[in-house]
Subunit: 369 residues, 2 copies
Amino acid sequence: MIPVPSPDRLERAQRAVAAAGWEALLLSAGTDLRYLTGYNAHPSERLTCLVVPAEGESLLIVPELEAPMVKAAGATIGLRAWAETEDPFALVAGHLRKVGPPGRVGIGNRMWAEHALQLGSATGSRAELAGPLMAQLRMRKDDAEAAALFEAGRAIDRVHARMAEWLRPRRTEREVGRDIAEAIVAEGHESAEFTIVGSGPNGASPHHLLSDRVIETGDLVVVDIGGVTEAGYFSDSTRTYVAGGRVAPEVIDLYGVLQAAQEAACRAVAPGVSAAAVDATARGIIEQAGYGANFIHRTGHGIGLDVHEDPYIVSGNDIPLEAGMAFSIEPGIYISGRYGARIEDIVICTADGVQRLNTGSRDLLTLGA
Amino acid sequence: MIPVPSPDRLERAQRAVAAAGWEALLLSAGTDLRYLTGYNAHPSERLTCLVVPAEGESLLIVPELEAPMVKAAGATIGLRAWAETEDPFALVAGHLRKVGPPGRVGIGNRMWAEHALQLGSATGSRAELAGPLMAQLRMRKDDAEAAALFEAGRAIDRVHARMAEWLRPRRTEREVGRDIAEAIVAEGHESAEFTIVGSGPNGASPHHLLSDRVIETGDLVVVDIGGVTEAGYFSDSTRTYVAGGRVAPEVIDLYGVLQAAQEAACRAVAPGVSAAAVDATARGIIEQAGYGANFIHRTGHGIGLDVHEDPYIVSGNDIPLEAGMAFSIEPGIYISGRYGARIEDIVICTADGVQRLNTGSRDLLTLGA
């Protein structure tokens, strides 16, 4: 069973809403809603909307046909189910107008425009993004969340540990990817969420997923995979493999640079160190080796109920890291048209340093030789 | 291979933008973007934005690390890749300001609020929902789309045809659901998208997914399942089964009413008939039998690149059906705390009537007896 979140989360949110000078926080289906209430609504054209006013009772407005799911999730919040031909936006407006005239509201960053614009019309309130407020609530993982991320990390490590079962020359990326996706579920996830198998030149496309390309002997293969556990927490880990041996000395050199950069960035994590400084640590090593222009993305992203969330480990983000913050460290080097390499671990900043949630070998392993 | 959409789609969109008096249409990652360009971007905090101005060149603004994926998708549109620390919102504003001062823009209905609000700030343009415009472009499926929906329908029919392999008393919904999800992929989908196994009282919760409830002998079990094919088109089909026999006569009666309602609504589909009239056909039969209050959702939803899209088959939607429109017909009857039943087929309105894409038996089959 997934524990229902402590009512404390909703109380902290309400205090933050009051401090922001908003009438209310409005959250549609998504992880912010799940974080505060435990209810994992699925995104839909039918409006689900949690109203957290600066003062008074919070209210969850849900489509009637989904009301039983809120109860099944154990959420104890006040509920207003709307029938299929009712206007849910008017219901939100009605709840807001109980507390005062139209002012400013915070809306969830991933609310769909169709809901945001219709809420704006119905309420007359001016919308601001609630992302920074929600990030403040969600960035520091509590012990139960850290345990959930550990569990996800161990599960994806078990999948990487089995990679030799599937990854070898003469199979297509798609065939390998399907096997991996099955294993992601078998090893302890509720679902496989992404499966990148970037072989040879496809490895130079960081977000390449799967293709019908046949893996060749000597290919570098970037395998970036993750899933979500029953508790809703993500795994995300990348290893780069060699299919069947025979890589050029330049590849060994490049990989050594990458490995050193990833290791140094992980070791740089500590409370008070800025996110930007961790990025600069990885980037500096890669730049010094002459690959700066080939590291075309940030060093990492926060992770939790979302696979990408605050804090982002990127130049310009001067937020100081704090105990409980969980994020990826994933530098990559991409040689366009030829190959790419990336190494990714999820880490948690602790009171006195860092703990890695992914612990499998980061060496350039040859499989299927 | 998935064919790249005809440039004609983008031209029709541009004409519609001009007719709407908008500066441009702005679409982030999602199915509207895929429909117009063939590029299936994944939703992300990193902005992907297609700008379709009323006149002049369209431009696709993408994160640099995803630019290779646009080329791999075969999209021939003008591309502007933004580096990780660039401001993509300023790039959109720059492209708009080439054509004139700030006015009105259409934004995709499912654009995230964080993108919509930042685009608003950067461009100074007033956002309106592009949903109705995109629905006009997408609602009438062309022959290739109809063929893709047929293929998806046949694939999900093959899964229902195998249901006796998995569905029987003493298994949990979750065990059955995992087997079904594997079969959805094995029978021809790229991924399983939803797997509802609502046994006994859980069947009365229309959007219930899976639980650890052990299926009992004599349970009614609602199985509502779908996936997405490589071409991006959804399947969605519901059958209600009996686990192991022995249902009460009242259940047989209720199911007979439901089956008659579903059949009549399917037969009511024809060009010129309104969506609301199809809903009224199913609803009338269920109301006459005394179950009106137990049919708590609309009769159906359009389907294509989204599992829910226009046209919605619901009271108040007076849109006349036209050849090429594809949607579900899925009345249900729910007895709270006891059981539920639903029958769902995808149908396409044809020049002279209707064609069903799901053709498996709609009788109340007993499995695992």
